[in-house]
Symmetry: C4
Subunit: 250 residues, 4 copies
């Protein structure tokens, strides 16, 4: 097996798609958002990416196995076509992150899927009342467009930069001339955060021009409410310390 | 030395063999089961696989050294021929797991040894009364055959997937069109577990069609009884906590 | 992306430059010193080095991203031309350190930029009154020149050798016939140390023949004074233990 | 720089040499023994091996730097010629151990230097009264020769096998047909142990046929006596626990 392999699962015509990435990371914000699109909208699996830099692992569903991979789905909405990347893993090492992102950009270029939206969370270290979405972009024009629809751009935040596939889609994308932006939902960093995922998707709806129902995401958010409430009760006795390791954004 | 090297130790004719893997993992279930076949039945070492991804280590026996390797034995029973993989090591890194499994599949294809049975344990976190065997497979027909002889298939269990060479024999095997199944004996995860190995072998006997004596395995199981009893006594004072890291299946 | 890539940001004529390296390390002495030159003097970014051995990360400034890289600036003074390497990262692994240094030496040779001065700190484990600068060199003549202007050469200090890009610029430089020296400012090892950076730059001024204003570096030093004072107060209650890990010199 | 590079420091005629390895490991037994030969006997540096799998580091002596390397010295005694490998580092990763050993075997074959003696220590977990030397070999005839001069061969001891360059010189040497043996001096595992090094060298003297003065090694042993005495005093209050990590043999 090569270090990175692309499997053509199905050949679908997609017209002027944008590319959306949502792999595991802080608060699983990006992953929740991307999976919500695949589940709620009309979608079809078109590519799998396998890599020797993914964990040596299969998942089991109904007794049948699937090798660790990242999945690209063609998602059709009334107003736009999307290619949505989901998966359970980041690469396991530094060279893997670079190589995987290069492979994704090959696919992105083969579909002429621009711009790229990398979705993720940015940890604040405290529970969120109002879910702002922080942005980063490879070009001035993207920054201006996103700023106009409510995305926050703040000096050199996030201070720790953007790490992982999300960061490299912008870093390597820029070098290749592929316009890319990162949308980071604020999140405590302590919890899986469907509300932050919804905030990110609302921006994405406006940026790309499509609509998706948020019912199931809101249900998951309600389920988290109890957990949050318990944490708040805990916080009244001992305040949560700042956590260095929460700067990671998938 | 290349990253992976195959040594032809002897050339033996084997007719329509199945391939059985049992490397170290949870409860050493797979390793115990595979070694039991090699020790109890008529067997001959046919291949060694060396790798720069194995530990940089030799073992010493009677003052003579043997470089770290995985060993493939031709095992002859009254009713079937087996190729049995044993060894003391998993690969030491992610790329090593993938490369080693690719090398094993090369050998499997050269012997036309199908299907592949990967043996291992699945941790339950508590002491086992009745040793169920959990299954996973690359094809529907294998799943049905194994279900018919008592193998359990449960939703998306094991929840953490199957990791290591066992997992990749299914994951990469499926991609190559080599039918493969994983038989996982339930085990506490706290102890080397000969009883779980016996449960796995009983399923394997029926799946492949051969018989092996369990005398020595039962002796080892009896030796473990005292240990188990002591643990149970300990558990009466403090219950064992669930252990995240026990999801590993060799 | 290749493991190491050189981006030509601008083509500038530089006459007989020396090469100065200052990446992160003990007390950030080398990094502070190199950045001070770039900020205070007339400088232009000429090359970026990207690597799959750098962290998979972009930094964000005003909402725009920059892929992790090392930067080489052409710096013009009244009396000499300098090529100054700055950056936020050392390589992430052993092979990365060697490969990155080889890439830097390729650039150094393409500019015929000699000698090479690697700047860093050497930890003493205690607060410094008088900031000596320790030296190491690839040739006797360099050692003599540096000794003549006040650089200390002491037996086999630093005892732990010189680690990272600084060390390899000398180690690999010597093998290629590129004369190189390391200037290490003494520093406690506990704090970012602008005073040590100033001591190193004062030696460099004399070795290369140029002048730079130290105003901003002295301001940062003043800001650190409070921190130092607090540490000294703390030390009166409990003495700081020697720290094995402080032998690292960037 | 290639992953492994051989520098020809000088070209010396050596007649029918044996090869002796002594890199860092348990009790620094092998390193002490090999360095003692180089220091006490008539020796000349003939080869250096550099590797990107060594630490990214230079050592400093009198202000001049030397890149991390393994050194091979031609050592002449009245009765035999030796090639002695010394150095401050093992490789930093698994692939490095294999590649470095392959490179050493290339040199060994180019000098036709056989047999290979890998020197090291084997930890007992307790202070030693009588320093036995444990052996391992690639061939029966070597084992018999060594057994005849007092080397101990015990079942499958050392239980953890032999790890690192010492182990691979036997493991990879055997595959190439280069006869090799490992001489392991018993040592507590807690201390640098010149007495164990002397015990190993006494066996080596007899195996190869040469003589070396032990004066300086005995002095170092005397210096360690005080340390040992203190440890024994400490042991009277709290017995030393067995240490899993002490199985490593350099």
């Amino acid at each position: 097996m090569d270090a990175f392999e692309i499997e053509h699962v199905s050949e679908v015509e997609v017209e002027d798609p944008v590319f959306i990435e949502g792999l595991p990371g802080v608060g699983h914000v990006g992953k929740l958002a991307a999976e919500h699109l695949v589940e709620e909208l009309d979608s079809e699996l078109v590519r799998r990416v396998y890599s020797t830099h993914f964990p040596p692992q299969v998942t089991v569903e109904n007794g049948l196995t699937q090798l660790a991979s990242a999945e690209i789905h063609a998602v059709t909405t009334d107003d736009a076509e999307l290619l949505v990347l989901t998966g359970d893993h980041q690469a396991q090492d530094t060279a893997g992150h670079y190589g995987l992102t290069d492979t994704l950009l090959d696919i992105i270029e083969s579909f002429d899927a621009t711009p790229v939206y990398a979705l993720g969370g940015v940890p604040t270290g405290e529970l969120i009342e109002e879910y702002d979405v922080l942005g980063a972009a490879t070009t001035d024009s993207q920054r201006e467009e996103l700023e106009a629809i409510g995305v926050e751009f703040r000096g050199n935040e996030p201070a720790g930069g953007i790490v992982g596939i999300s960061g490299l889609l912008l870093g390597l994308g820029k070098r290749r001339g592929v316009p890319a932006a990162c949308l980071m939902g604020e999140t405590s960093g302590y919890l899986v955060d469907p509300k932050s995922a919804k905030a990110v998707l609302e921006i994405l709806e406006e940026a790309v021009g499509f609509e998706v129902d948020f019912g199931t995401l809101e249900e998951r958010a309600d389920e988290m409410e109890d957990v949050v409430r318990k944490i708040q009760e805990m916080e009244q006795t001992a305040p949560a310390p700042p956590d260095e390791d929460l700067r990671y954004i998938g």
